[in-house]
Symmetry: C2
Subunit: 362 residues, 2 copies
């Protein structure tokens, strides 16, 4: 089967979820679990988190086939108190483990006002914002910390990549305005973005990465020769470190030299650590009054005076929100090169290929 050579093709979100689910089921996941992961991965692409969506599918399948993922995990509470728990993911897919962590954190927050769930023996779970958004749907504020699945960041002044991009995400419900959803790597760029650029054959802006001599690294295909740079120099290094301690070390997940590079090693359990915090609005204030305050703040910011040349002042999550709306209508853009990889994967797995929206060239 041929694919068009134009830069992007498009797929409907439901079709993308179906395709990913089928691939994961064929790789060995139970149908319900495969559908859950497929839905979350397609949702990542839907909101423009293209470094964390279907682009990861070939790697996930490779890992599952290599025995690096437990496809029938016993995800269980290792220890808990009224307002917290440590969840052992039993080396299951991260999407499943963190989804369970979110449910538990929300339950605990309902009972105690707040709930924290640390996760260990988990795996890569895609974009942090997916999970804080799920907390938010219960009229709660969500915070999330994770240890990344490969170390790309040296300590400030160092050369050894002892830290990952360890993301931090926060979701805050609004009223009539779109919610505020911050999802940021503690590096200037997330490694997923580097991969996405490499896939598209584009170059990186200066400031994303450096080589071992401290020179700017611009070619994403040479990413393995350098390291990511933290935001704000030593401050971003400090944020990556404490995010990793909160997400990893606190619950018994891997951190520092114990982090397994899941790009190179498809077999060793990663012991990935993640942590989620849910704060139940109604325990603090009348949720409607809170949301009205957030709406007012959003409007004050959006309508405030701009620097010369700036057209819009944006709120965190605004672009993802807009993409969710746009791609729901137009379909999700997928790089043609990635679409070809997915065709190869489909043929390899013996499943129906991804159905695209736009017609194939004659």
């Amino acid at each position: 089967m041929t694919r068009p050579d134009n830069q992007f093709v498009r797929a409907e979100v439901s079709e993308l979820a179906r395709f990913i689910g089928c691939a994961l089921e064929r790789a060995g996941l139970p149908a319900a679990d495969a559908a859950t992961v497929g839905g979350l991965m397609a949702e990542a692409d839907l909101q423009g988190s293209d470094g964390h969506g279907v682009i990861r599918l070939p790697q996930y399948v490779k890992r599952i086939r290599a025995g690096g993922i437990n496809v029938r995990p016993d995800i269980r509470v290792a220890t808990e108190q009224a307002a917290m728990a440590v969840l052992d993911g039993d080396n299951g897919m991260g999407h499943l483990v963190v989804t369970r962590a979110v449910e538990l954190a929300v339950e605990k927050a309902r009972a105690c006002g707040i709930g924290w769930v640390s996760v260990r023996a988990s795996n890569h779970a895609g974009p942090a914002s997916l999970y804080v958004r799920k907390v938010m749907q219960h009229d709660m504020v969500g915070l999330y910390f994770a240890v990344g699945n490969a170390n790309h960041l040296p300590p400030w002044g160092g050369l050894e990549m002892l830290l990952s991009t360890n993301p931090i995400a926060v979701a805050v419900p609004a009223g009539t305005e779109p919610p505020i959803v911050l999802d940021m790597a503690t590096t200037v760029a997330a490694y997923g973005k580097v991969k996405a650029l490499a896939k598209r054959g584009e170059t990186m802006p200066e400031g994303w990465m450096m080589d071992r001599e401290g020179r700017p690294l611009l070619d994403p295909a040479r990413a393995a020769e350098g390291f990511l740079l933290p935001i704000g120099g030593y401050k971003g290094y400090g944020l990556a470190l404490v995010a990793g301690l909160l997400a990893g070390t606190l619950g018994g997940g891997a951190m520092g030299r114990d982090v397994v590079d899941f790009n190179q090693n498809h077999v060793t359990p990663t012991n990935t650590g993640q942590a989620i915090l849910a704060l139940d609005l109604k325990a603090f204030r009348d949720p409607d009054v809170f949301k009205a305050d957030v709406d007012r703040l959003i409007r004050d910011i959006r309508n405030s005076e701009r620097l010369p040349g700036v057209e819009h002042i944006r709120l965190p999550g605004e672009q993802s929100h807009a993409k969710r709306k746009l791609y729901s209508e137009t379909g999700i853009p997928i790089a043609a090169a990635l679409a070809r990889d997915l065709d190869d994967l489909a043929s390899d797995l013996g499943i129906e290929p991804l159905q695209l929206m736009s017609p194939v060239h004659p």
Copy 2:
């Protein structure tokens, strides 16, 4: 009385605490409260947080005298659940309100594994690290968010200073190594550091502040003409925003346009919001095993390969820790100009001046 003209004089930490306590008591605080605040402010100077120590005393006294602080506050729980509370500070000194919040968060964490206390109707409380350190002393991890007491940060792309430097602090206990204590403004520089440079007559590095035309601002005496820059551009803006929502809006504290500039206005209650989170180590893992993991991580980082020209790789809090040790022995350095201001204040209040360690020039 004359003071030496050399750049710095020195005072013992206990003497500095005594002096600040006396000044605050004379200004109207009950003796015990004045001593508590004096101790915390001197501790700020002891660890090198010189933008938040005795340098703030003249301003605090001015505010108390103007009636902008409630010297006999009824600090009370406004609402609570098992693992959280909202504390109403009744416009008392921030140091007292946040100290009470720390105690309550620790209590709740002992009972539920974690504890969150939001504070409203509080005031400026000095360096964030003081409070997460107090959580840490109970074998807990501490997190702290605060809304700064003057807006110096526009949203990314904007000119109106709708946000403050909203600090984030995290303290993580270690075993035999010094603990990890991150305390960072979400701007490249904290406003307190700008003030300290102004006091010392020094210039700012490029990248700290910009003027309204987007040009670098280097003279700290002209700080009112410009604004602070966030770390990592839009990421630091996002962090400042969510830290403010967590510390302010969630508990009913001021945020955005409601923030009172306590440098300009000494009368209006600031309704300052702060939030503290305590995570009890023993609810998660064996604290000794956790601390051994942290020690190992610290040593891996400290001893890792360095970039050419870098002499030490530091951990967050390492320099404050070193200053605590050094200044305990040598005394706390105080800019001569500030020492003169403190003499004026002492004479104005009719109290014993600050006793310095070094002899006055003949």
